[in-house]
C-alpha cells in the first residue's frame, strides 16, 4: 500500500506536520479541539465556524488557534 503525503505548516508559532489535504475541521478533530471553543485564523484571515470544512490546509500555511483565557 502507499504512504500518505505529509505537509508542514506553522501552527500557533511552531512547525507542525499533518497529512496533505486535511480541512480545518479535520485539523481541529485531530487536535481534539471542539470547534465551538476556538477561533481559527488561517494565513491571517479569520475563518467562520460553519465553513471549517471548506478550507483545506496547504503546505506552509500559518494557522493560529486562539481561545479565551483568564485576563483583566
Amino acid at each position: 500500500m502507499n504512504t500518505t503525503e505529509m505537509i508542514e505548516i506553522r501552527l500557533n508559532g511552531k512547525p507542525h506536520d499533518l497529512a496533505a489535504g486535511q480541512s480545518v475541521r479535520e485539523l481541529l478533530e485531530s487536535l481534539d479541539l471542539h470547534p465551538g471553543m476556538v477561533v481559527v485564523e488561517l494565513n491571517r484571515e479569520i475563518l467562520e465556524r460553519d465553513r471549517y470544512d471548506e478550507f483545506t490546509i496547504g503546505e506552509g500555511d500559518t494557522v493560529e488557534l486562539v481561545h479565551f483565557v483568564g485576563g483583566g
Binding site: 501552527l11 500557533n12 508559532g13 487536535l31 481534539d32 479541539l33 471553543m37 476556538v38 477561533v39 485564523e41 479569520i46 467562520e48 465556524r49 493560529e64 488557534l65 486562539v66 481561545h67 479565551f68 483565557v69 483568564g70 485576563g71 483583566g72
Partner: protein
C-alpha cells in the same frame, strides 16, 4: 447573629441601572478573570463580587494542555457577559486583530480595548488607542477603552465612538487607588458616555472612593485575585462599590475644620 448579616437585606433605595452600549449591567462592578490561584476560587470570587460582566483575554490555545486552560470550561457564558480584552497589544493593528478574533468567538460585539505604550508601567499609548477605537467602532464593535486619566484623550475616545471610556485610577496591578481624583471627576463631568474606572484599585476603600467621584462603574482584577482571601475581598468590593455609589447619590455632608456638636447644646442642667 453576625455582622455579616448586616448587609443581607435588600436596600430600599434604588439606583438606575448602568447601561453600556445598549447592554444593561446589573452591577457597577466589572471584574477580571486573571491571576487566580485556581479556577474554583476564580468562579467563587466572581460570583461573590456580584459582577455580571467579566473580562477575558485572547490567547493561543496551548496545544499541550488545552482542557485545563480555556476560561470557558469554567465560566458559563449564559451566566456572565464576557468582555474580551486586547491586553498585551502594543499597536493599534494588533489590538484590532485581537478584537476581531474575540468577536469571532461569537459572544458579543463588545471589546475592552487596551493598547499599551510602555512595558514597565503598562500605561496606554493614547494616540494608538484613539486610532484603534475609530477602526473598531467603524466595524461595529462596541469599544470600552482603557486609557490614562487625561481628559483630552477621554474626549477623543468618546468622539471615536467608544461606548465607555475607562481611565485608570493608578497603574494596572499597582493597588495605589485613585491617585488623581480631580482628573477622574473632570472626565466624568465632561463625557456623555459611561466612565468606568479601570485598574489601580487595591482595597475596598479605593473602590468606594472611586464611586464617590461620581463615575458609572469600576473594573478590577488584581485587588480581588491577589487578596489573601479573594472570595471575601470580592464580597467587600461589591459592598464598597455599592456604598460609594450610594454615598455619591446621597450627597455627603460638607467637611469643615471646625467641630459641630451632634447633641443639643440647650437643655443642660444647672
Amino acid at each position: 447573629m453576625t455582622a455579616s448579616q448586616t448587609t443581607s437585606e435588600a436596600p430600599a433605595v434604588q439606583d438606575e441601572a448602568l447601561e453600556v452600549g445598549g447592554h444593561t449591567l446589573t452591577s457597577r462592578l466589572i471584574v477580571g478573570t486573571g491571576k487566580y490561584a485556581t479556577n474554583e476560587v476564580m468562579v467563587d470570587a466572581i460570583r461573590a463580587s456580584g459582577a455580571d460582566m467579566v473580562t477575558v483575554a485572547v490567547r493561543r490555545v496551548d496545544l499541550d494542555r488545552t482542557k485545563e486552560e480555556g476560561v470557558l470550561h469554567h465560566l458559563d457564558p449564559k451566566e456572565f457577559f464576557l468582555l474580551a480584552n486586547t491586553a498585551g497589544c502594543y499597536t493599534a493593528e494588533d489590538a484590532v486583530r485581537y478584537a476581531r478574533l474575540a468577536r469571532a468567538a461569537g459572544f458579543n460585539e463588545f471589546v475592552k480595548l487596551e493598547v499599551i505604550g510602555d512595558e514597565t508601567t503598562l500605561l496606554p499609548d493614547v494616540q494608538a488607542t484613539v486610532d484603534a477605537a475609530k477602526t473598531l467602532s467603524d466595524e461595529g464593535f462596541k469599544v470600552m477603552a482603557y486609557t490614562n486619566d487625561d481628559l483630552v484623550t477621554a474626549l477623543r475616545l468618546e468622539d471615536a465612538g467608544c461606548v465607555a471610556v475607562m481611565p485608570l485610577a493608578s497603574p494596572i496591578g499597582s493597588g495605589l487607588g485613585v491617585v488623581n481624583p480631580y482628573f477622574i471627576r473632570e472626565i466624568k463631568r465632561r463625557l456623555e458616555v459611561p466612565v468606568i474606572v479601570d485598574a489601580g484599585v487595591g482595597t475596598a476603600s479605593d473602590a468606594c472612593v472611586t464611586m464617590e467621584q461620581g463615575v458609572d462603574g469600576v473594573l478590577m482584577n488584581t485587588a480581588i485575585a491577589a487578596a489573601d482571601d479573594p472570595v471575601r475581598m470580592a464580597h467587600a468590593m461589591r459592598s464598597a462599590v455599592w456604598a460609594g455609589r450610594s454615598a455619591y447619590l446621597a450627597g455627603r455632608m460638607p467637611s469643615r475644620e471646625i467641630a459641630v456638636p451632634s447633641s443639643p447644646t440647650a437643655g443642660m442642667l444647672d
